[in-house]
C-alpha cells in the first residue's frame, strides 16, 4: 500500500468571482516535510483553508484525496478528527472559553471519533504537563481564555502546543514563524521537529528561509498565482532568499 497522506490533483478554488488556486498539484507522503513559499497573495493561506474546509470557498475543479478518502467531501470537524490540523496564521480569540477546557474538548472529540476512551481531567492534565515542556509554554496561558490577550508569539506557540496535544497526521502550519522572536522560533521549531514521525507529515507555509534552518524540509515548493511553479530541495529556499521570487516568475513567464 502507498503511504500517501495527501494528494492534490489539479485543484482550482476561489471565492465568489475570484479564482485563487488555479490548478494546483501536490503529493505529500508519510514522513515528509514540505515547505510552501510564495509571495503575498499567491494563495498559500487559501490552500490551507481549503484543505481544512473553511466555508466560503468554491471548489471549481480538481480533487484532493486524504488517506485515500475524498477530503473535500468531509466536514471540517471530520477532517480535524481524521488528523488534519491547521496552525492558523491568525489564531482567533474565544473570550470566556478556558484554554484547557477547549483543548480537552477537542482531544476528546478526536478520541471519541477513533473509538478511544475519553480522557478525564487528571489524565488530560498529565498529558498537558508533558507537552508543555516540549514547547516551554507558560502554564498561566492555559488558565486563560483561548488566545485572549495572548501576544502574537504566544498565540503561535499555543497553536503548536495544540498540535502537540492533538497529534495530527497532516499538520499545516501557516506562517507559524512570523511573529516569533529568535528564541521562540527555536523552541517552536524543535517542538515541530519532535512531533515529526514516520506516520505523519507536515506542510509548512513560510516566507522565510530562516525557519527552514531549524525545520529541514524534504521539499520546497514555490506557490505563485495559485499554482506550484517550482519544486526543489531545501537549497531552493536558500536560492529564493538570495534572488527573490522574480527570478522564478520570470522563468515561468517563458513558455516551457
Amino acid at each position: 500500500m502507498s503511504n500517501t497522506i495527501l494528494e492534490i490533483k489539479n485543484l482550482s478554488a476561489g471565492v465568489e468571482n475570484k479564482r485563487i488556486i488555479k490548478g494546483l498539484n501536490l503529493t505529500v507522503n508519510a514522513g515528509e516535510v514540505h515547505a510552501v513559499m510564495g509571495p503575498n497573495g499567491s494563495g498559500k493561506s487559501t490552500l490551507a483553508s481549503v484543505l481544512a474546509g473553511r466555508e466560503g470557498y468554491e471548489i471549481s475543479g480538481g480533487e484532493v484525496s486524504y488517506l485515500g478518502r475524498d477530503l473535500l467531501e468531509m466536514a471540517p470537524e471530520e477532517r480535524a478528527r481524521e488528523g488534519v490540523f491547521l496552525a492558523f496564521q491568525y489564531p482567533v480569540e474565544i473570550p470566556g472559553v478556558n484554554s484547557t477546557y477547549f483543548l480537552k474538548a477537542a482531544l476528546n472529540e478526536i478520541r471519541k471519533h477513533h473509538g478511544e476512551q475519553e480522557l478525564d481531567a487528571m489524565e488530560f492534565l498529565s498529558l498537558v504537563k508533558e507537552k508543555m515542556k516540549l514547547l516551554e509554554l507558560r502554564d498561566d496561558l492555559l488558565k486563560r481564555s483561548v488566545n485572549e490577550g495572548f501576544s502574537g508569539g504566544e498565540k503561535k506557540r499555543n497553536e503548536i502546543f495544540q498540535m502537540a496535544i492533538l497529534e495530527p497526521k497532516l499538520a499545516i502550519l501557516d506562517e507559524t514563524d512570523s511573529g516569533l522572536d529568535i528564541d521562540a522560533l527555536k523552541v517552536v521549531s524543535e517542538g515541530v521537529n519532535k512531533l515529526k514521525g514516520p506516520d505523519n507529515a507536515q506542510l509548512i507555509i513560510t516566507h522565510y528561509q530562516r525557519l527552514l534552518n531549524y525545520i529541514v524540509p524534504d521539499f520546497v515548493h514555490v506557490l505563485w498565482d495559485g499554482r506550484i511553479v517550482r519544486t526543489g530541495g531545501k537549497e531552493l529556499a536558500l536560492e529564493l532568499e538570495e534572488k527573490g521570487y522574480d527570478w522564478i516568475i520570470k522563468q515561468e513567464a517563458v513558455p516551457a
Partner: protein
C-alpha cells in the same frame, strides 16, 4: 459573506425537552374575572378578611389600568375573561403532610424535570417548596429551617400562619398600584413562596422553588415575598420549566424582597418556560414584576437571572437602594431563539448615600428572536457618592435576529459616578471554524462560545445552578447555527 449568512440560518429543530403534561385532575375555576372570582379565591384559601380586602382593592385598581405598551414586544391582545384564575391539583382527602403523601404522579413530574424531590431532600441539601400549578405540594427541610427560626413556606400558608409578617410586608415593595400586571397579580395571586430570615441568621441552605405551569388555560399568578431581617443572609433559587402547549399562557408573577440593615439576599433564577415552537406558536407570556428594597444600611440585594424560555419576557428585577451604603446587583443572561421576544433589564434607584449598583447584562439573539435590554439608573438628589457600573453586551447569531438597548440614566446628584459599557458582537464564523478545525462540531462550538460570553453571569450562580444553566443554554440554542 452571503454564503456565511445563509449557512448560519439553516435551522434544524429540536423538540422542547420538557414538553409533557401531567395527567392529574385539576380543580379549576371557570374562566373569567370579577369580584366574585376574587372572593372565591380568597375563600378557598381560607384567608383573613384583610387579605380579601387588599385583593379587592387591587382588583378595582386594575380595572382602571391598561396594559403597558412601551415594551419592545409584540403579541395579540390578551382576553383576560378567557383565563381561569385558579387551579389546584386535586387532593385525596386531606392535604399532604409530608412528601410521602404527595401524589406520586406529581413527584414523577418533578423527576422528569430532573428534580427528584426525595433525592434532593437527602442528597442536595436544598429545601424545596414546590409549586405545582398554583398550590404548594411539598416542603422539605422545614424542621431544619425552623430550628434557626427561618420560615420557608407557601404564601397561602404564610397568610394563615404568619399574618402579621405578611400583612406588614406584602405590597410594601411592589404596591398593587405599581403596574397593570402587578395589580392583576395582587387581586388573584394563587400561591408562591414566603421566606423570613430572622435577625442575625445565615440561612443554612439554599432555598429553592420550582414552578411549573400545568393546567391548560390557567394563568399563573405567583407571589413571592422574602424578608431578611438585620444581619441575616439568604440565597434563593427559582427555576422552572413548563409543558408544551399550543395556546399562550399568561404568567404574571410578583416577587418582593426586603433587606434590613446589613442583610443580604441573593435571588437566582433559571427561567425555562415553554418558548413556543419554531413558527412562534404557543409559549408563555412571562410578565413579571420583581423588585427588592434595600431598606437597611449596608444591605445588599443581588439578582441573577438566566432567561432562556417564554415566548415573551417582560421583566425588570430592580433594586431600591434606600439604606445608606446599600448595594444592588443585577446579572442577567437572556436568550431568544426562533420567534422569542425579551424585553428585560433592571432599575437601580439610588436614594441613600454611598449606594452602589452593578449591572451586567448579556443578551443573546438567534433565529428571529428579538432581545431588548431596558435599564434605568436613577440617582436621586440625596444619593451622594452613588456609584453605578453597567455593562450590556449583545451577541447575535445569524442575520434575522435583533438586539436593542434602552439605557436610561437620570442623575440628580453631581457627586455620583456612572459608568456604562456596551458592545454588540456577531458570533464569528472564524471562531466557529477555529473550533471545527480542532474537531468540535458547530453546535458544540456555539455552546462553548456563548457560554464563554456569559461567564461573568454564570459565575454568580450557585454551582449546581450554573451547570443547569449552561445545559439549558445549549438546549435553547440547539439548531441556531447550520
Amino acid at each position: 459573506m452571503t454564503q456565511e449568512t445563509n449557512s448560519i440560518e439553516t435551522l434544524v429543530k429540536k423538540e422542547y425537552k420538557y414538553g409533557f403534561v401531567t395527567d392529574i385532575e385539576s380543580e379549576s375555576a371557570p374562566a373569567g374575572l370579577n369580584e366574585d372570582v376574587v372572593r372565591m379565591i380568597s375563600l378557598k384559601k381560607e384567608e383573613p378578611e384583610w387579605m380579601l380586602e387588599w385583593r379587592l382593592k387591587a382588583y378595582r385598581h386594575w380595572l382602571t389600568l391598561t396594559e403597558p405598551k412601551w415594551p419592545h414586544v409584540k403579541y395579540p391582545p390578551i382576553d383576560y375573561q378567557a383565563i381561569s384564575y385558579f387551579s389546584a391539583p386535586k387532593k385525596k382527602g386531606e392535604g399532604p403532610k409530608s412528601l410521602a403523601e404527595v401524589d406520586p404522579k406529581l413527584l414523577e413530574t418533578y423527576e422528569k424535570l430532573g428534580i427528584p424531590l426525595r433525592e434532593q431532600e437527602r442528597l442536595a441539601g436544598v429545601a424545596v417548596d414546590a409549586v405545582f400549578d398554583s398550590v404548594s405540594v411539598g416542603t422539605t427541610f422545614k424542621a431544619q429551617l425552623a430550628e434557626k427560626g427561618v420560615i420557608f413556606c407557601s404564601m397561602s400558608e404564610a397568610v394563615k400562619e404568619h399574618p402579621e409578617l405578611v400583612r406588614k410586608h406584602i405590597g410594601s415593595v411592589v404596591p398593587y398600584t405599581d403596574n397593570f400586571f402587578a395589580a392583576l397579580n395582587s387581586a388573584v395571586f394563587s400561591d408562591g413562596s414566603f421566606c423570613y430570615i430572622p435577625k442575625g441568621v445565615r440561612c443554612p441552605m439554599e432555598l429553592s422553588t420550582y414552578f411549573r405551569i400545568n393546567a391548560s388555560n390557567t394563568g399563573q399568578f405567583e407571589r413571592t415575598l422574602i424578608v431578611a431581617e438585620e444581619g441575616s443572609h439568604v440565597s434563593y433559587l427559582e427555576g422552572c420549566t413548563a409543558p408544551m402547549r399550543d395556546e399562550n399562557q399568561l404568567h404574571a408573577a410578583v416577587v418582593e424582597l426586603v433587606a434590613m440593615d446589613h442583610a443580604e439576599i441573593k435571588y437566582s433564577t433559571v427561567q425555562n418556560w415553554y418558548p413556543g415552537d419554531e413558527e412562534g406558536k404557543g409559549g408563555i407570556y412571562n410578565f413579571v414584576t420583581k423588585r427588592g428594597m434595600c431598606k437597611g444600611r449596608k444591605s445588599k440585594i443581588s439578582w441573577t437571572q438566566v432567561e432562556t424560555g417564554s415566548a415573551i419576557t417582560w421583566k425588570y428585577p430592580s433594586c431600591i437602594l434606600l439604606g445608606e451604603g446599600s448595594i444592588g446587583e443585577f446579572y442577567s443572561v437572556a436568550v431568544v431563539n426562533n420567534y422569542q421576544q425579551a424585553d428585560t433589564g433592571t432599575k437601580m434607584i439610588h436614594i441613600g448615600k454611598n449606594t452602589r449598583s452593578t449591572i451586567v447584562s448579556k443578551g443573546i439573539s438567534a433565529g428571529k428572536g428579538q432581545n431588548s435590554y431596558r435599564g434605568l439608573v436613577e440617582i436621586r438628589k440625596g444619593a451622594a457618592n452613588a456609584r453605578n457600573f453597567s455593562q450590556c453586551d449583545s451577541m447575535l447569531i445569524g442575520a434575522q435576529c435583533g438586539a436593542h438597548t434602552f439605557p436610561y440614566i437620570e442623575v440628580k446628584n453631581t457627586s455620583s459616578r456612572i459608568e456604562h459599557e456596551a458592545s454588540t458582537t456577531k458570533i464569528g464564523e472564524d471562531q466557529i471554524f477555529y473550533c471545527n478545525q480542532r474537531g468540535i462540531e458547530t453546535q458544540d462550538a456555539v455552546n462553548m462560545i456563548v457560554n464563554g460570553f456569559c461567564k461573568e453571569v454564570f459565575k454568580e450562580l450557585p454551582m449546581e445552578f450554573a451547570v443547569e444553566a449552561q445545559k439549558l443554554l445549549g438546549v435553547s440554542l440547539e439548531g441556531s447555527v447550520g
